[in-house]
Amino acid sequence: MAHQKLSAWQYMILGLVAVCAPLADACLSRGMTKLPAIFLDHPATLIVAVFTPWIVLGITLLIGFFASYLTALSWADLTYVLPATAFGNVIVALLSRFWLQETISLERWAGIVLITLGVGFVAQGPSLTVRPVPVVEEGQHL
């Protein structure tokens, strides 16, 4: 596996992936918990939920996440991008501690340390599996 050094721009893209996903989850959760219970025998109510304000904001953040995620996947492995962007969970936990003044238990601090270690582990390694013979050229599809 050759070592692929990422540029500052590429780290910024990974940062966007990390931040947009947990923020989108938080917005979706806030939106969905405000709605009455949805049942599988009325799937259309899920479609109606998509047009409520919190869900719209969540979807907007998800679009930002998806654009940066696709960009990251075009120059890095899936098994590199996913752990590397898990740092977003830590950002949300730290925001809740220092911005919202929430209490973080010992277990959560342990989780923050483990995620940081995991991100550090994967970030120091190569971002892309380089094969000896390129099978597919740019612009072509599988």
């Binding site: 949805i38 025998d41 996913l82 599809h141």
Partner: protein, 135 residues
């Protein structure tokens, strides 16, 4: 009269089924999307050469991309359904941490990625870390 398939406060098996649906659909979607993006090539280079329209065209003319988006859409609606019945503090970390492991396995098998000891360690550390963060 309609009989609800899922109660407002689902049991363990219903909760597990909802989380499993998110994990399976996410894994399929992410592997297909990753395969699509590998076949398209480096988007930064394509954008530098053909502009943003060229980059969008390169992505939108790839059939694998739409297969991936289809599964990701299924994962999204599974997530909405789960969030309607379960707390975010359970759904988000459980699905995120399990998806990390299933993606590492799927990445090795289907994408032939070199999932070395470093990446396995990272996946497991992040997986346990995300779990702990929810408690």
């Amino acid at each position: 009269m309609t009989i609800p398939i899922l109660a407002p406060h689902p049991g363990v098996w219903a909760a597990a089924a909802m989380i499993a649906a998110i994990v399976l659909c996410s894994t399929a979607g992410e592997v297909l999307t990753a395969a699509a993006m590998k076949s398209v090539g480096n988007l930064d280079k394509i954008r530098a050469h053909s502009g943003i329209k060229g980059a969008i065209r390169a992505v939108l003319t790839c059939p694998l991309f739409f297969a991936g988006v289809g599964f990701l859409a299924l994962a999204f609606f599974s997530l909405l359904l789960a969030l309607n019945h379960l707390n975010l503090s359970l759904v988000a970390p459980a699905s995120a941490s399990l998806t990390l492991v299933t993606n590492a396995i799927a990445g090795k098998i289907f994408l032939k990625e070199n999932v070395d000891r470093r990446r396995w360690t990272a996946a497991v550390l992040v997986c346990v870390g995300v779990y702990l963060l929810a408690h």
